[in-house]
């Protein structure tokens, strides 16, 4: 039963009834309705409870400024909280709940708060729950329970979202009269235009014009013309929500939210990331409420919203209406109400409203009461009566109610505030206009223009003209010949005079009268702003945070200007001197899903894979994430866990042969006449002395002298080197080298080329590794004399060209095979086949870590953390005394020379069994008074199968001089493990095994 629905008119389709549920009850609306208009049509007056005082609240507006009708829409994983019912298009089967009110909006237990509203003034939480401090955790549970609007789903979101990038000459934000004219003007001139509007239909305020009016006819023609221009992209249901530097603008398009669940396909929402040469802002304006006692009662609405509901949705929200205004625009609402059959009284604060306006209303049977104001409202669940008194303009003199008018609707208009949000986000300032009583955009901060009512223009004709001019100017700026277009003869005949009325004084002490709300969503009243000022707050940003004025989903779109004017009054200063709070993105709330786009799940971060990845997957290897690479962690056989697999893999390498995919190593080709000189400056060891075909382990330092990266390098020619870097450091090292070449040493003729992806690297390690390669068939001799340790050779292996390196990260006899990645799988398979008789064992990163730790080889980034020098790590032998290199000078800083720096040492558990957790802090005396002094930490720790005991690497203050001493590792559960400081080389300290 849509009791408030008009019999005809409106942009709704009465042939398409839509069923929806609201707070568990079934209702029917029509296609073209919003949830708000459908609720109003059904006579639902209470849509929520207020934030703090739990007062019943009704629908106030018809757009993003709506403070009260905040809904939880949808169910289950797809439910969305914080949605404004005024912005939800109705669809069949829609399910919505109020987000405030327990157990329900009509009866809310929390409404008792209202009885004690004086206690719940600004700063209530700070003052009340601060002491005793210890109880905050207890209070917080209850405060959190009652705070917020709605609940986020706990399930993961089943919907998909996407981002689209677009470039255009002219972006038009808003498709009201000004925006449409701008898009037409720019589009006809041939520029690439994108025009976005948050509503389902273009038209803005014209959608609220009577269906038979000239406005509606023009709108239809203009939209059709826009559609016919191939260079104009039209985005309905698309909110321009962010304006960033360099005319980068973001738009949220709601692709699916208006469709019945079964009809939805493709992404739910889309974020457009638009780079525009010129932007035309035509977002329109917001009508301000008026501030009087109990102005938050259900049935008190914006006048313009009432007009919109009547003409656009064919819903007349009341039968006996009072219109309260301080300006001309609400006169139209009074007429609209009368034409919809309502009984109307208009109360105008101005003593002399425009006579022609007044006459027009009176001819329509509307009572006009000039020079009066609404002081108070009777009725709790719905407006019943308004109290009206004579107004003499004196804020210090309370207005006494003299007249009562019974009504079920109060339409208010306190004037208009241009939506300067995007202009402000773009860095533009605003100036106060004393005639129009609003902030209007001043100089734009970027290449944008404001047009129409967001620029403070109220008359339709001026909006159309400004839109056209802005579109033509933008086209001209883009190098196009501007095309003039005619302004339709649509003068709405409205005058737009206004008088200041920021609040209606109801008592000498505004704190004693019933609440006069400024921000409905946050329950901020005049008394709260006055209190904030009394307590010393002066800056508008501070007052905002103390009173919560302008927070919430509407971000002050409704109440902020009133609040600032009242603050100005309290501070006895002007409104421009008081200023506004900062306008920040997002203009309206944006879902996290939309911001994430498709970068979720497996696409959250790129997964880099080697050419052998599928082989590893087929063998059931779990993967370890190293940088963005997924590396096989270990290769479990049936029934094996990590430790069993790693023990087996380690023993296989030490006793026979193992094979590892080392393709993720960074690989850089360095060439040029100055390659030696360049590398001398980068690495700490002597490069020039390296013979061709020789490999060397090298480290590079940051300018601070700290270890930055390491790897094996090889000299391939007189002027040609091949470097390897750590897996995670590859990109950084290449950038670092290019940085020095391009910015500091441009005189060096050196060229760098990344070979990381070109070469796959297969490491064959263990005493039988040579036999495996010989069995495969190698074009060169592999014996110790022909191909000694730390040398490289170009060769053919199984007929495939390879680079062979006799290097070892395990301490065993080992070869690394570099091969074109396209051939890598074939080579890997060849190695596996040839190694079968030796029980060749594929091993992963965990075994690699254990093997290198047994040898005391560090991993940069694990055993170092950016504060470890090569001296700390025991690499003095790597530091050339004959040359300068990056970071060398830093090593002689006094701090780098301290004896008690943390130094790399080995640790063994005294009990011979406990594996110390990595990251554990080390203390000399766990029973020392707290805080117990810490003397180091464990950086690597494993069980060593071949040594049959746990081993660890640690960084300990002055550690090298403490070998043989014991200390304690502190475990998270508070227990300790006693450990002895030893050499970091646990296995084959003389390095004989790799030299065979």
């Amino acid at each position: 039963m849509q009791a408030f629905r008009l019999d005809d008119g409106g942009r709704i389709d009465r042939s398409k009834p839509l069923t929806f549920r609201y707070n568990g009850r079934k209702f029917v609306g029509f296609a073209g309705d919003t949830l708000a208009s459908a609720l109003l049509a059904n006579g639902v007056s209470i849509v929520g409870r207020s934030f703090k005082l739990r007062r019943p609240r009704g629908i106030v507006g018809c757009g993003p400024e709506e403070p009260n009708a905040i809904m939880q829409v949808g169910t289950g994983a797809s439910t969305e909280p914080n949605v404004r019912a005024t912005q939800v298009e109705l669809y069949d089967g829609l399910v919505a709940r109020s987000t405030k009110g327990w157990p329900g909006v009509r009866f809310d237990v929390g409404a008792v708060n209202n009885l004690f509203s004086r206690l719940f003034a600004a700063g209530f939480y700070y003052k009340t729950f601060m002491r005793p401090r210890a109880l905050w955790n207890w209070y917080e549970k209850f405060i959190r329970l009652s705070a917020g609007f709605g609940r986020a789903p706990k399930e993961s979101d089943p919907e998909t979202y996407e981002h689209v990038n677009a470039h255009c000459d002219v972006l038009v934000a808003g498709a009201g009269p000004a925006g449409i004219m701008a898009a037409l003007a720019a589009g006809k001139a041939g520029t690439r235009v994108i025009v976005a509007d948050e509503q389902n239909e273009f038209g803005g305020r014209l959608l609220a014009a009577p269906a038979t009016s000239g406005e509606c006819e023009w709108l239809q023609r203009a939209v059709a013309e826009l559609e016919s221009l191939p260079n104009v992209s039209m985005l309905p249901r698309s909110t321009v929500f962010g304006y960033y530097d360099h005319n980068f603008v973001t738009v949220l398009e709601r692709c699916n939210d208006h469709l019945a669940l079964d009809d939805r396909k493709g992404p739910r929402q889309r974020v457009w990331r638009i780079r525009a040469r010129k932007v035309v802002l035509a977002q329109g304006a917001f009508e301000r409420p008026l501030v009087f006692c109990n102005n938050d009662r259900p049935g008190v609405m914006q006048a313009s919203a009432v007009s919109t509901y009547i003409h656009r949705f064919a819903v007349c929200p009341g039968r006996r209406a009072v219109v309260f205004t301080n300006n001309d625009s609400a006169y139209r609402t009074a007429q609209d109400l009368a034409s919809a059959g309502a009984e109307v009284t208009l109360v105008d604060s101005r003593v002399s409203p425009p006579p022609d306006r007044r006459e027009r209303l009176e001819n329509a049977g509307i009572t006009v009461i000039p020079g009066h104001v609404v002081v108070n409202v009777d009725g709790v669940r719905r407006v019943r009566r308004v109290r009206i008194g004579r107004w003499n303009g004196d804020l210090t003199a309370p207005v006494k109610p003299a007249i009562s008018v019974d009504c079920d609707l109060l339409a208010m208009s306190g004037g208009w505030s241009p939506a300067v949000h995007l202009h402000s986000q773009a860095g533009g300032r605003n100036t106060w206009d004393d005639d129009r009583l609003c902030f209007v955009p001043a100089e734009p901060g970027q290449a944008n223009r404001s047009a129409g009512s967001c620029n403070g223009q109220w008359s339709l004709r001026r909006c159309l003209e400004e839109g056209r001019d802005a579109g033509m100017a933008a086209a001209e700026d883009c190098g196009r010949q501007p095309v003039n277009i005619d302004i339709p003869d649509l003068d709405d005949g409205d005058s737009h005079a206004i008088e200041a009325l920021w609040r209606v004084p109801a008592a000498t002490d505004a704190d004693r009268c019933p609440k006069q709300f400024v921000d409905f969503q946050n329950d901020t009243a005049v008394s709260d702003i006055r209190l904030a000022v009394r307590e010393g707050y002066r800056n508008v940003e501070h007052v905002k945070r103390y009173t919560a004025l302008g927070f919430g989903t509407d971000q002050g779109k409704l109440g902020n200007i009133n609040g600032m004017a009242i603050l100005a009054e309290c501070l006895d200063q002007t409104i421009p001197a008081t200023g506004t709070t900062t306008f920040r993105p997002a203009y309206t709330p944006v879902t996290f899903g939309a911001l994430a786009g498709s970068n979720v799940g497996p696409l959250f971060d790129p997964v880099r894979t080697t050419a052998l990845h599928e082989w590893h997957q087929a063998k059931g290897a779990p993967f370890e994430v190293v940088g963005q690479w997924h590396r096989p962690w270990y290769f479990p056989k049936a029934g094996e866990d990590l430790h069993a697999a790693v023990n087996r893999e380690c023993l296989a390498v030490r006793s026979s042969v193992g094979v590892m995919d080392a393709s993720t190593l960074g690989k850089i080709d360095v060439r040029g006449p100055d390659a030696v000189e360049f590398l001398e400056r980068i690495y700490t060891h002597n490069i020039g002395k390296m013979e061709i075909g020789r490999c060397a382990y090298g480290v590079m330092l940051g300018e601070d002298g700290m270890l930055m990266d390491d790897g094996v390098m090889a000299r391939l020619g007189e002027q040609r080197f091949y470097l390897t870097t750590t897996t995670g450091g590859a990109a950084n090292v290449l950038s670092w080298l290019e940085l020095w070449l391009q910015t500091e040493w441009p005189e060096l003729e050196v060229y760098l080329t990344s070979l990381t992806d070109h070469f796959s690297t297969i490491a064959v390690a263990g005493p039988n590794s040579r036999r495996v390669l010989e069995k495969i068939g190698c074009s060169i001799a592999l014996d110790k004399a022909s191909f000694p340790f730390m040398h490289m050779r170009e060769a053919e292996l199984a007929g495939m060209p390879v680079q062979l390196f006799r290097v070892s990260f395990s301490g065993e006899l080992a070869f690394e095979i570099n091969i074109d990645s396209e051939l890598a799988l074939a080579m890997w398979q060849t190695v596996m086949d040839a190694g079968e008789e030796y029980g060749i064992t594929p091993y992963g990163t965990e075994t690699m870590h254990v093997l290198r730790a047994e040898k005391g080889f560090v991993i940069i980034g694990q055993d170092t953390d950016g504060s470890v020098t090569p001296v700390d790590a025991g690499m003095n032998w790597l530091l050339s005394k004959d040359k300068d290199f990056l970071g060398k000078r830093s090593l002689s800083r006094p701090d780098c020379l301290r004896d008690d720096r943390k130094q790399l040492v080995g640790l063994t558990s005294v009990d011979g069994a406990s594996v110390i957790p990595e990251g554990a802090q080390l203390v000399n005396d766990p029973s020392a008074p707290k805080p117990v002094p810490m003397c180091g930490h464990v950086s690597s720790s494993y069980y060593s199968a071949c040594l049959n005991k746990p081993i660890a690497l640690a960084l300990i203050e002055g550690g090298r001089a403490r070998k043989g001493e014991t200390l304690y590792a502190v475990v998270r559960d508070g227990s300790t493990i006693e450990a002895e400081i030893v050499s970091p080389v646990f296995y084959d300290p003389k390095g004989e095994r790799q030299h065979v």
């Binding site: 498709s598 970068n599 696409l603 990344s754 070109h758 396209e822």
Partner: protein
Amino acid sequence: MSELQRQPGGYINLRGDADDRSFLACVMSAIGFGLPTTANTFTADEEGSRRAYWLGPDEWLISTERGQVSSIVGQLEASLREHAAAINDVSGGYLLIELAGEEGLQTLLRGTTLDIASAVSRAGHCAQTTLAKANILLSCIDDRPVYEIIVRRSFSEYLLRWLRQTQHSLAGLDSSS
């Protein structure tokens, strides 16, 4: 929806001094056509089977059939013996993915911030940019249009997954490929 595939090819990374006319002449004699010296363009031989993409003021990527790589590398090395230059076979490092038509364009728009209409809509233009979160070399090889994406091998699986999901999304299908 087009079937997306990764194709191997032959690639040579070349670095040298573009201000040195003799360097450019030597390269031309080795590969049969001139290197591009205009940013974000590529040149090709007459059959269009070999191309040279501009990567930077002193860096190019030459693409060719895989079987031709070693002979071209040999010719370049011989021809540039007197020059400081870096010639590297990087064939294993890249894979090629082709996109075509309006669907291809719409896919690209969802992953790259590049203004495709002005950057690579004309044949002979190329750009190094990101697609989703992978670096790519993007070029338009004809006016149908056909877009070629050259991507580092290690990112190709990620990129393929992203492309497939995006095409599913464009087709209005459920995600997950």
